[in-house]
């Protein structure tokens, strides 16, 4: 399936995403911060990035800007516990915005949508 990069500062969530998305058949890489993700992107190109917003230091909005500045075609889903960022114009350049919840149904559906739109999924 697809090569995903999950960026989240919460270790337990990272492990949850890794497990659930691997079960979907994806190849998952984890990063615990914006800088770590950017470092990974220097030598790797995932098919899609799942990016938390509220993180210490560089937040997901700033990381999104830096990711798109390097590669404007990179698909990014913002994945956050807060719906308030939805009104922030800086989040509007992401491919999708998902509010975190107990189960990952919506996230999984959005991943499929984005991959499909980008022609990476039949």
């Amino acid at each position: 399936m697809a090569k995903l990069l999950v960026v989240d500062d919460d270790k337990n969530l990272r492990l949850l995403y890794e497990q659930e998305l691997e079960e979907e058949g994806h190849d998952v890489t984890l990063a615990s911060s914006g800088p770590e993700a950017l470092d990974y992107l220097k030598s790797n190109r995932p098919d899609l990035i799942i990016l938390d917003i509220s993180m210490p230091g560089m937040d997901g909005i700033e990381a999104l800007g830096k990711i798109l500045a390097k590669d404007k075609t990179m698909p990014v889903i913002l994945n956050t516990a807060y719906s308030t960022y939805k009104d922030n114009f800086m989040t509007w350049s992401a491919d999708a915005y998902v509010v975190k919840s107990g189960d990952l149904t919506e996230l999984k559906a959005k991943i499929k949508d984005v991959l499909k739109t980008r022609g990476m999924l039949a």
């Binding site: 800007g65 798109l68 500045a69 404007k72 075609t73 114009f89 800086m90 509007w92 350049s93």
Partner: protein, 416 residues
Amino acid sequence: MSNQLLKDTLTLVLSGGQGERLYPLTRDRAKPAVPFGGIYRIIDFTLSNCLNSEIPRVYVLTQYKSFSLDRHIMLGWSSLFNNPELGRFIHILPPQQRTGQTWYLGTADAIYQNIYTLEREKPEQVLILAGDHIYKMNYAEMVRYHVERKADLTIACVNVPKAQANQLGIAVCDVDNRIQGFQEKPKENPATIPGDPENCFASMGIYVFSTESLVRRVSADARKETAHDFGKNIIPEMVAENARVFAYPFKDENKKDVAYWRDVGTIDGYYEANMDLTEVNPLFNLYDETWPIRTYREQFPPAKFVFSEPQGEHPSRRGQALDSLVPNGVIISGGTVEHCVLSPQVRINSYSHVQDSILMEGVSIGRRARIRRAIIDKGVRIPEGTTIGFDPEVDRARFTVTANGVVVVPKEMPLG
């Protein structure tokens, strides 16, 4: 006019273009900072419109060679706009490189790179202006028109005769002025205004966007390989996708028989628009106190005209200016100026004759020089006996000469 509509509107004046067609006037300054009409700069007309329309929040997006533009706005316009208590301001916004390491790739990218500013201000509407046209317009009426129609985008359009359509971007409209499409410089059969088969609607490059629509469009555009341009990408896409895009018929505040809107983006256009001001009854009205054109002006002593030898058989030493604009700080010392636009601190020396020309600040014309159809940029000292504008071949060897034969002497060029 409801004040609230304007309070909810943020104005962005795009001033980051290179102005290549105005070279060499733009060699050392941004196009909006090019002097015009003796004491003004091109951007003054747009900013005067903003002030006269009571627009409260203005950002001027600068980029290339912005120093003289920044200084002009700081000195001339800050005090007229800025009142933090009332939420009124003019700010200069150079590229921040928040979204990338490039300069503005196009007009749409200039907005995309400043989304942070839109996020902070959260306006309902964004008025986008260009800062390089000469016209008088009440933007408040356009904003109201936009809001009344619940438009995604409203584009100001000027009536032009069919014959001029081949120079301009023509909007194809229905009877409600909703835009159905565009014709870029149509060679034949331009779309005419419904109910007016002789005239067309030409886009003036003045836009009111609903903020949400603007941000969504430029954010999506930033992720594609396009020219990142409103005219080429964003607007055609919106029209194709049936967004609510309307033409706003330009209502001229110039109070003349024919609507005045001039692109001064070429040397010849710039020259003609300046020369118009010297006419007995100019097309563009600088004298209407209900729509004042403001600028930054330094203090100078009154213009002085000296030597008044009687006209006789021999060339007489008379300091005189006819059919000309002569601002403070000029000394016409024994020479003659005819049909010219002068700037402060210009000096015209004895027995010289200057006609049909634009002389910028600090230009000095040496004795017995003869100048015709020339634009002489700031600080140039024309040596005694120089002739410009009489022999195109000789002029072309030294200066820029336009298609219409206007000679341009660049800023501070050493001569003689």
